[in-house]
């Protein structure tokens, strides 16, 4: 019956299309996507992101401390769609792409995101309950902003970030205005925004604040039952907190499961992490015995990778009898930490009670608390420490390979094994997994990498000392066995040959995703890159007035060039509206406090909401940079700028409807707004050559575009 009834109905498609929205979207696509593959050369930070895209294509592991992996993944998926194989050397800005690289697809996704920002701003203004005209104004401001166009058209991440941030706010406000399933989209966008760049965190926190204010009002609403309030609150927490956190972890899950080959950043990670990657360390260590036994031949890697990763080392050279500053040494054999693989990094674990240097059958494993001796493989010296000041850190003890000079300096070569990450008291010392401290039995000092490099007599290798006063959780005390095999030859000559040969035997080891995630996240937050000023870096206060620009690309032979320069008129409008809003808000607040209500409550709420989102958004995306010690660039200001573009037309509408009473004033305002829009369009046209890189301008024309003395525009001398 149902079907027959349906068949009797006329087949009607009722669609309402907002033509304005369609129009601005089309224009946005046209400004962002046209001639996307020009210039066919590496532009600015493409050189930075490109290397990671290549590594993605080759599934090689890397660390980038500039942000979480989602951004790289998006860029890489664009490259994947275009069939990029990762075979391109990203070494300098301006290098030509070969014909095998599909430049268009590399730049497609950021450009799409950048284009979609324009309709999103339109919709967002509507959700803030302003008119379609304001929405159009905001969309046009964004559409004609040269800096946003430039930033969208290349393989960069800001446009992606801005897209997700706007999407998050749009979907949240839509949920707030008419509760529906939009909230989950908001949560997902927040997770994505934070996943693209850590900067997304600022906007995410703002969204949380706005959401909690709304929830607080909900809690105060006594017409709703307790049960209902609980359900609603839990729903919000789930969507806006749990979902983004899970997503954030998920990006790393994808990242780690995708990148499974060893690569250039391996050395920053722990041995266990490295062993989980294909190639690299795992190729060397695959098949090593797990349990360290008496007679094992091992290399000991220091757990601290500052300044560089290194292995416990010794060689046939003694400490100088006297140092430069006149202090004496034991003149015994040097023990150092050496940052390269070397046959002199091999040590043999010996039971103090027995003479033999081979592993029994079955092997007798070394456990936590056991006392051992360490014999240097190539020189057969025992690892020794005594009450002699270390060469560079005189408050600690010297560590040496013991030589008996018959000067009543007895050997003190017993070391107790202390596994600091043990789970049980009698845990066995495991290759790669166990972090071990070697405690000197006679003096209870701990073997430690001091981090200082020795002078020329020590070949600039790193100093190793034994320290009595140590900090508890210092990783400079911990050592892990990296390469390991069971020794089989008692004779020195055979043993040397054995040490020179590579290791084999088969065992498989894995570490869990969580361990890898925590380690990677920690490294990303703590790895410090050398921060230095860049030629185009700027300070946050210069952004407001756009004191600086960034030269992105210069044609290899002509004057055609691309710069990150904003539209100065829009920039001014944005600053003006920011000031105007704050002024108006202060006046309103003071007058309301004295009981003078200038605008009805509904309008006041709308005004407050506008301020929370736009002025708040500007604040959270700008103020933190004032406190940062990092190298900053003009493009860091773009998210904050977008909030201001959202603010300007809305504020204008507010003034038009509620502040100006006479019709003439209102008309004057409209005319003024139109004039400003027109001048924005004209400036956009003026700066187009610097935005799209064509047509080429003469030096004279370029000089004319230098509106500010502090801008760096490049001229080619002919």
């Amino acid at each position: 019956i149902c079907v027959s009834e349906m068949l009797q109905l006329p087949l009607v498609v009722t669609a309402q299309v907002d033509l304005l929205l369609v129009l601005v979207s089309l224009l946005a696509f046209w400004t962002r996507l046209s001639h996307l593959n020009y210039p066919n050369a590496v532009v600015f930070d493409e050189v930075y992101y490109g290397q990671f895209v290549s590594l993605y294509m080759k599934r090689v592991f890397f660390i980038d401390d500039s942000g979480p992996p989602l951004g790289h993944m998006i860029l890489a998926s664009g490259a994947y769609l275009g069939g990029f194989d990762g075979n391109f050397v990203w070494n300098r800005i301006g290098a030509e792409y070969p014909s095998t690289v599909n430049v268009w697809s590399l730049r497609l996704l950021p450009a799409l995101c950048g284009a979609l920002c324009v309709p999103l701003v339109y919709l967002l203004t509507l959700e803030l309950k302003f008119s379609h005209l304001s929405a159009l104004g905001a969309a046009v401001l964004l559409l004609l902003e040269n800096s946003l166009i430039v930033q969208s058209r290349f393989m960069l991440l800001e446009s992606v970030l801005i897209f997700f941030v706007l999407l998050a706010f749009f979907s949240y406000l839509r949920f707030h205005n008419a509760p529906s399933s939009w909230l989950i989209l908001s949560g997902v966008s927040c997770g994505a925004a934070v996943g693209v760049k850590y900067m997304g965190l600022f906007s995410y926190l703002l969204l949380l604040v706005v959401a909690s204010l709304h929830t607080w009002k909900l809690i105060g609403d006594k017409t709703i039952s307790h049960m209902n309030v609980c359900v609603q609150s839990v729903h919000r927490v789930l969507c806006l907190v749990v979902v983004p956190v899970l997503l954030y972890v998920f990006w790393f899950y994808v990242h780690l499961s995708f990148l499974n080959r060893s690569g250039p950043h391996d050395q920053l990670m722990s041995s266990a992490f490295q062993a989980s990657l294909q190639g690299g360390l795992s190729r060397i260590t695959r098949g090593q015995p797990l349990e360290v036994a008496y007679g094992s031949q091992v290399t000991l890697r220091s757990s601290v990778s500052q300044p560089i990763p290194c292995w416990l080392h010794s060689h046939k050279v003694n400490y100088p009898i006297r140092y430069d500053n006149g202090r004496g040494s034991s003149h015994q054999q040097q023990v150092t930490c050496y940052p390269f693989k070397d046959v002199n990094n091999w040590w043999i674990i010996k039971d103090p009670g027995r003479q033999q240097l081979v592993v029994d059958t079955p092997p007798r494993p070394v456990r936590h608390g056991d006392v051992i001796q360490l014999v240097h493989g190539m020189t057969s010296r025992f690892l020794n420490s005594h009450d002699v000041a270390a060469p560079m850190s005189p408050h600690t003890q010297e560590v040496s390979g013991y030589i008996d000079f018959n000067v009543s300096m007895p050997a003190q070569n017993l070391w107790r094994v202390d596994i600091s990450n043990r789970e049980a008291e009698s845990e066995v010392w495991k290759t790669i997994l166990s972090e071990v401290r070697l405690i000197h039995v006679n003096t209870s000092a701990v073997l430690k990498l001091s981090g200082v490099s020795l002078p020329d007599w020590g070949f600039r290798q790193l100093e190793v000392v034994a320290d009595k006063l140590f900090k508890a959780h210092s990783s400079s005390l911990e050592w892990t066995v990296e390469e390991h095999r069971y020794g089989t030859s008692q004779e020195q000559k055979e043993r040397e040959a054995e040490l020179h040969s590579p290791t084999h035997i088969d065992v498989d080891r894995k570490i869990s995703f969580w361990a890898k995630f925590v380690e990677l996240q920690w490294k990303m937050l703590t790895v410090k890159q050398e921060e230095s000023e860049h030629k185009y870096s700027s300070s946050p206060l210069e952004w407001i007035t756009m004191e600086t620009n960034i030269a992105y690309w210069l044609h290899s032979s002509t004057n055609a060039q691309i710069h990150l320069i904003g539209n100065p008129v829009s920039w001014g409008v944005a600053n003006l509206s920011l000031l105007a809003y704050q002024l108006l808000a202060v006046v309103y607040l003071l007058r309301r406090r004295r009981g003078l209500k200038d605008v009805p409550d509904g309008v006041w709420d709308q005004f407050v909401c506008l301020g929370c989102v736009c002025v708040g958004g500007w604040l959270v995306n700008f103020v933190p940079f004032l406190l940062m010690d990092k190298t900053l660039f003009l493009y860091h200001y773009l998210p904050a700028l977008c909030y201001l573009y959202l603010l300007s037309p809305a504020l204008l509408e507010h003034a038009h409807t509620h502040l100006l009473s006479s019709v003439t004033h209102q008309r004057a305002l409209c005319v003024g707004a139109l004039a400003v829009l027109l001048s924005i369009f004209l400036t956009y046209r003026t700066f187009c050559p610097l935005t799209y890189g064509s047509p080429e301008l003469s030096a004279h024309q370029l000089q004319g575009l230098k509106w500010r003395d502090t801008w760096d525009i490049l001229y080619r001398r002919r």
Binding site: W216, K222, L469, S532, E533, R593, R594
Partner: protein, 753 residues
């Protein structure tokens, strides 16, 4: 205002006949109802719920005043007695220089000797230390070279005693503040006890340091502010003015000791804004009244502190009139004020001439002397030529010789003067290299060009030529020593010699970068003056340099201080304390002694106290969250507001900013925040105990309350007994070795005693 702490809370009286004061005084279980006598008390009733502290309204407090004055006074005396005795006990031990005494003791001596010095902190604290030393008979001769130096016969007890006395006021202030905020003796006593028996607070009060002085002013300012808030129903009365002005004075004091005082200024500022906002909403006040309120606060909290602060500096500059170790940080004009400085009543050739030996000082405030030395720029930093830097100290390597473009030999006869537009070559006297620039990036300011020392014995190339330009001068004007502002334009590239003010890394000995800037705007960074001028062939003329006025000196010394502060970056090998270490008492500071044989003092908070504080912070937040959600849902808790918002804000303001600071941080930076945290603990625990009757019935809840208080007291006292050697000194083996008195007390591996 009245101590109304022991009155039953009249708004809950109908529900429970319960007392909130633990003192044995049981005489006034009289019930009274609030009588609305006048307009003021009505307002009180309305506003009591909305403000940071609860007020019972004056009418109730007057009734209760008589009967409670005595127990509260007795408690106050007890607090004072304990506080002074714990701080002054063994004040002269150890009899050697401990930790930062080496700085602040030395600076106290400088005041006594009237020698000019430079420090990153404002002068009030050191002035007071110097004064205390002077009064107690210390003559300023002890050198304070390094920690561990024996005092021998010097009168150092006066300076330590002064700091300890100020430190002893902290628990008393805490007691009074909490009493005002909560009206509960219990809360006040808990807060005071926490502070009295905290080993950290004792240790930091006992030595010649700025911290006890700073914390004294911070707490005094908070106390006056709280007292002032209580006066709100008696606007413009004498006591209203007294507390308002006292707040202002203490703010000036706090800022005068250390810039950390800024945080308490923000706290008071926020409180005042909130207060004004409240007044603005009070429709019974006319706009004129509000303007009066505003002006009164602006006078007492802005104008007065500024005047006092400036006065402190005025005294500082008047007292210190002799040349000392801090001269080089300041401009030539400044130095001419100092007796003993070579610019004081200086006498040198008036106009710069070829062949003269000169020092060249950058005009940027705290810009250094143009300097070079026998070290090259490291590989990868521009060309591998000799470094040229700006250096703040006076040194032989600051000397340069002015040469003509070509000739090397000085001619006979009167040398020619250098004039505006002349081309010169500047030869570094010590290394005979020429000042040189070329088209390589500068080491830090990448937009500028590198400046190096190049050539040998004056033979270089065309890149060694600089054009002298007197700012505001015309072609042919001579260069006046000290008075002319000079720019050096590089002939070959057209850039101008510039000092960016950025500190070079280790390879540059942390001196200041010198570059050649292609941006030709006239800024002090690109202007230089000729300071010393030696030319035996010219007659010396006595120069009276334009004496700078006071405001210029003030501004200059502040900029120098801020530069100094931000320049205190953590060194590579140095132990660096992180802000998150502090509340968990992760690691202390060695004040004295390292080895087993030495007398050791270790600055570490009493772990029990600190961990209680930490837990209370969480507890407080939970309680506030639960209470406000309940209120928002319309449940009546029948209890007063918790009222610790002010203290919580104080804690946050004194703690959170450290996370954003790039300078080197130490454990003792947490102590002001710790004071706020302890007061908050007093308040929170008191309310927690009192909330017992939400769960238990009257006799049990009363017992629970008592038991909780006793347990708390006992644990604090016992932990103090355990840890007191940290403050009063330990000898013998270290804690992780057998046989130590502190053997089982190393609860965290990171403690180093």
């Amino acid at each position: 205002m009245a101590k109304a702490e022991c009155t039953p809370k009249w708004n809950t009286l109908a529900l429970r006949n319960r007392k909130t004061c633990p003192t044995p005084e049981k005489s006034f279980q009289t019930t009274f109802t609030p009588v609305s006598k006048d307009k003021n008390s009505q307002t009180a009733g309305h506003l009591a719920g909305g403000d940071t502290q609860s007020s019972n309204g004056p009418s109730g407090q007057f009734l209760a005043r008589e009967s409670i004055e005595s127990p509260s006074k007795v408690l106050l005396m007890l607090v004072a007695g304990l506080s002074f005795s714990t701080r002054l006990y063994m004040i002269t031990e150890p009899p050697h220089v401990c930790w930062d005494e080496t700085h602040f003791g030395k600076m106290g001596s400088y005041y006594i000797n009237r020698t000019f010095f430079f420090d990153v902190h404002p002068p009030l604290g050191k002035m007071l230390i110097g004064l205390a030393g002077y009064m107690s008979g210390y003559d300023g001769t002890f050198p304070f070279i390094k920690p561990g130096d024996k005092y021998e016969n010097q009168n150092y007890w006066g300076m330590r005693g002064f700091c300890a006395t100020l430190g002893s006021f902290l628990p008393i202030f805490a007691y009074l503040i909490v009493l005002e905020l909560s009206n509960s003796c219990t809360a006040a006593i808990i807060a005071a006890t926490l502070l009295i028996f905290d080993t950290g607070c004792i240790t930091i009060s006992q030595y010649i340091l700025l911290d006890p002085i700073l914390m004294f002013f911070i707490m005094a300012a908070v106390l006056s502010m709280v007292k002032f808030n209580q006066q709100r129903y008696r606007s413009f009365s004498a006591s209203w003015w007294l507390w308002l002005v006292l707040t202002g004075i203490n703010l000036a004091g706090a800022l005068g000791v250390k810039f950390v005082g800024l945080f308490v200024i923000i706290l008071v500022g926020l409180n005042t804004i909130w207060d004004l906002w409240r007044l603005l909403g009070d429709m019974s006040l006319s706009l004129v009244d509000i303007a009066k309120h505003f002006l009164a606060r602006a006078f007492a909290l802005i104008l007065l502190p500024v005047i006092l602060y400036v006065t402190i500096f005025a005294v500082h500059f008047v007292v210190l009139n002799k040349s000392g170790p801090g001269d080089g940080f300041f401009s030539s004009a400044f130095q001419s004020r100092l007796i003993g400085n070579n610019l004081h009543n200086a006498s040198m050739p008036e106009y710069l001439a070829f062949g003269s030996t000169v020092t060249i000082k950058n005009l940027r405030i705290a810009g250094g002397y143009l300097h070079s030395h026998w070290h090259l720029y490291p590989e990868g930093v521009g060309a591998r030529q000799q470094q040229v830097t700006a250096y703040l100290h006076k040194d032989y390597n600051n000397l340069w010789v002015v040469h003509r473009q070509q000739d090397n030999n000085s001619q006979s006869g009167n040398p020619d003067l250098v004039r505006h537009g002349d081309i010169v070559r500047l030869e570094h006297k010590e290394t005979t290299r020429n000042l040189h620039s070329h088209l390589h990036e500068a080491p830090l300011t990448k937009k500028h060009f590198q400046v190096t020392g190049y050539g040998i014995n004056g033979t270089g190339d065309a890149n060694d030529l600089w054009q002298v330009e007197v700012c505001g001068g015309r072609k042919g004007d001579p260069v006046k020593v000290l008075r002319s502002k000079v720019r050096f334009l590089h002939r070959a590239t057209g850039c101008v010699l510039y000092s960016s003010g950025k500190t070079l890394p280790k390879w540059g000995w942390e001196q200041i970068e010198v570059t050649c800037s292609p941006y030709l705007k006239e800024t002090p960074s690109s202007q230089w003056n000729i300071e010393d001028h030696i030319n035996p062939k010219l007659p010396n003329i006595s120069l009276s340099v334009l004496k700078p006025n006071f405001l210029e000196i003030l501004l200059e010394s502040h900029i120098v201080m801020f530069r100094g502060n931000s320049g205190l970056k953590p060194k590579d090998n140095e132990m660096n304390s992180k802000p998150w270490h502090w509340p968990i008492n992760y690691q202390g500071l060695r004040f004295s002694g390292v080895n087993a044989t030495e007398y050791r003092v270790y600055l570490l908070g009493n772990p029990v106290v600190w961990w209680i504080n930490l837990a209370s912070l969480g507890l407080y937040l939970t309680m506030v969250a639960v209470a406000s959600i309940a209120t928002q849902r319309g449940f009546s808790l029948g209890q007063q507001r918790i009222g610790g918002g002010l203290l919580m804000l104080g804690w946050l303001l004194h703690y959170a900013p450290f996370f954003t600071m790039g300078r080197i941080l130490y454990f003792h930076h947490y102590f002001p925040a710790m004071l706020f945290s302890s007061m908050l603990t007093g308040l929170t625990l008191d309310i927690l105990f009192r909330s017992a009757d939400l769960l238990l019935h009257p006799p049990y809840s009363y017992w629970f309350q008592r038991a909780g208080q006793l347990l708390l007291l006992f644990s604090i006292l016992y932990s103090f007994y355990l840890f007191h050697p940290l403050s009063y000194g330990m000898t013998g083996p270290l804690a992780h070795e057998p046989g130590s008195a502190m053997a089982d007390l190393k609860w965290m591996d990171s403690w180093e005693f």
